[in-house]
């Protein structure tokens, strides 16, 4: 019997190794995909990157593009990685910042859908729905506070620029002239370029093909990384949650961050806490800091994606990834740090959950309006008014 146990143990540890190798391979593919988007965008747009994204130069449109894209794909990591790739290809950082803010908002739809699973459970639904929407309201208030400040002062862009320069000294992301990512990422991208040129495609066609393939690859990679890490990291996530019990909000924020880094998905982290809150075992006040940690933890993907970018635009790719991190850290420090703003998302979530208990039409209206109708109306209005 002991032999069987040992056999099973060695089998599971070897299968774990295989899964880790697979994760490593997927991370490599993520870096390749980001480099593909950067290279493709550079080739397709030439020096016209700014003009191509002129439609999103209005910050409100940028936020909406980020929100809707993330709500449809249901992965902020995918959208932020694509944005990093586009910045690497020449998209101005200033245009990308509102999109990053929108990605934060769009990702909140996932845990809201998860909370709908409790719809027949009365009070349990109220608790689950408020635990899901507290994240929505936090991100919404974050946009309402920081987007105008960014438009007026560009403080996030400056913070990102300062941090990027601090990290790489104003040069590209090479360490003393040696870039360890470049030799790994460049060959497959060059091979694809040669392949497209070989079949007679011009720079524009080749660039568009690289962008489309890169986006598809990021989507597949992040989906599979998420699935694998969920299985591989569940034990570690449980240990982190056990350690955070009874230790207060700061510990909640740190554990939310740590679990999101481990599973590479903020929506997984924020969705996990929905049933915990729904059962009534955790209160909304205990869940709330945990979801804020998820906002910070999700920045790791964009930072990882930025390491794939080489050349003159590498600094900008790193800058937008650091803007993402700064935005989320500052958001937590300001909204959660100040006693008079801290509970606003909680009150808003409880109010909406109260309405949702009266009639589910409020839920449908909330999801439809916030994630789809309002964005379309705002974009139409901004186009008509020529903002």
């Amino acid at each position: 019997m002991s032999t069987t146990v040992v056999d099973q143990g060695s089998h599971s540890s070897s299968s774990n190794w295989l899964q880790w190798l697979f994760v490593l391979g997927l991370v490599y593919l993520l870096l390749v995909a980001v480099a593909m988007i950067g290279t493709g965008f550079k080739a397709a747009a030439g020096g016209q990157a700014k003009e191509l994204f002129a439609f999103a130069s209005n910050p409100v449109t940028g936020v909406i593009v980020g929100t809707v894209a993330t709500a449809l794909i249901q992965s902020s990591s995918t959208v932020t990685s694509i944005i990093v790739g586009l910045v690497a290809g020449g998209l101005p950082v200033g245009v990308a910042i509102p999109m990053i803010m929108g990605a934060n908002m769009g990702t909140t739809i996932t845990n809201t859908i998860v909370s709908l699973g409790h719809v027949r459970q009365g009070e349990e639904f109220r608790r689950a729905f408020s635990a899901a929407t507290v994240h929505d309201f936090f991100n919404l208030f974050s946009i309402l506070i920081f987007l105008p400040l960014e438009i007026m002062f560009g403080f996030l862009q400056k913070t990102g620029e300062y941090l990027a320069n601090l990290l790489v000294g104003g040069e590209s992301m090479s360490v003393k002239g040696f870039n360890f990512v470049k030799p790994l990422v460049k060959p497959p991208v060059d091979a694809l370029k040669d392949l497209f040129h070989g079949v007679g495609a011009n720079d524009l066609i080749m660039g568009i093909a690289l962008i489309v393939l890169g986006i598809a690859l990021i989507f597949v990679v992040i989906t599979y990384i998420g699935k694998l890490l969920k299985v591989l990291m569940v034990g570690r996530a449980k240990a982190i949650l056990h350690a955070a019990v009874g230790r207060g909000p700061i510990s909640g924020i740190f554990s939310g961050t740590a679990i999101t880094v481990l599973v590479q998905s903020s929506s997984t982290t924020t969705s996990l806490v929905v049933p915990l809150a729904g059962s009534g075992v955790f209160s909304l006040k205990q869940i709330y800091p945990f979801t804020l940690g998820a906002n910070i933890g999700t920045c790791i993907t964009a930072l990882l994606a930025a390491t794939a970018v080489t050349g003159a635009n590498a600094i900008f790719a790193l800058q937008i990834a650091l803007v993402h991190l700064s935005y989320n850290v500052i958001g937590v420090l300001v909204i959660y740090g100040l006693p008079f703003t801290r509970n606003v998302p909680i009150y808003a979530a409880e109010w909406l959950a109260g309405l949702a208990m009266k009639n589910k039409l409020y839920v449908a209206a909330y999801i439809g309006i916030v994630f789809f109708v309002l964005p379309i109306v705002l974009i139409s209005v901004s186009q008509v008014m020529g903002w």
Partner: protein, 84 residues
């Protein structure tokens, strides 16, 4: 010792006892809550597995929504009949 002092000391003693009892009850409640929280965390795999059923959740919600909308508009159209 005056009657007043005796009475106030007795009251202070009772307050101390109540405060101790309250503190014990609070600690007991916290321990109970934390025990439940640890038990819920132990079911994390179950919750993780459930995350993949988003389509089923939306379908279920849609059904509940339809029932509530039907009830809402059905009730309204019934009301004049009831009045008669």
């Amino acid at each position: 010792m005056s009657e007043f002092k005796k009475h106030s000391e007795a009251l202070r003693g009772r307050i101390d006892d109540l405060e101790k009892t309250l503190a014990n009850l609070k600690a007991e409640l916290q321990a109970e809550e934390e025990r439940e929280q640890h038990a819920a965390i132990d079911r994390l795999e179950e919750y993780l597995g459930d995350l993949d059923n988003k389509y089923a959740k939306l379908q279920d919600f849609w059904q509940v929504l339809r029932e509530e909308v039907k009830q809402l508009f059905g009730d309204r159209s019934d009301k004049p009949g009831k009045d008669k």
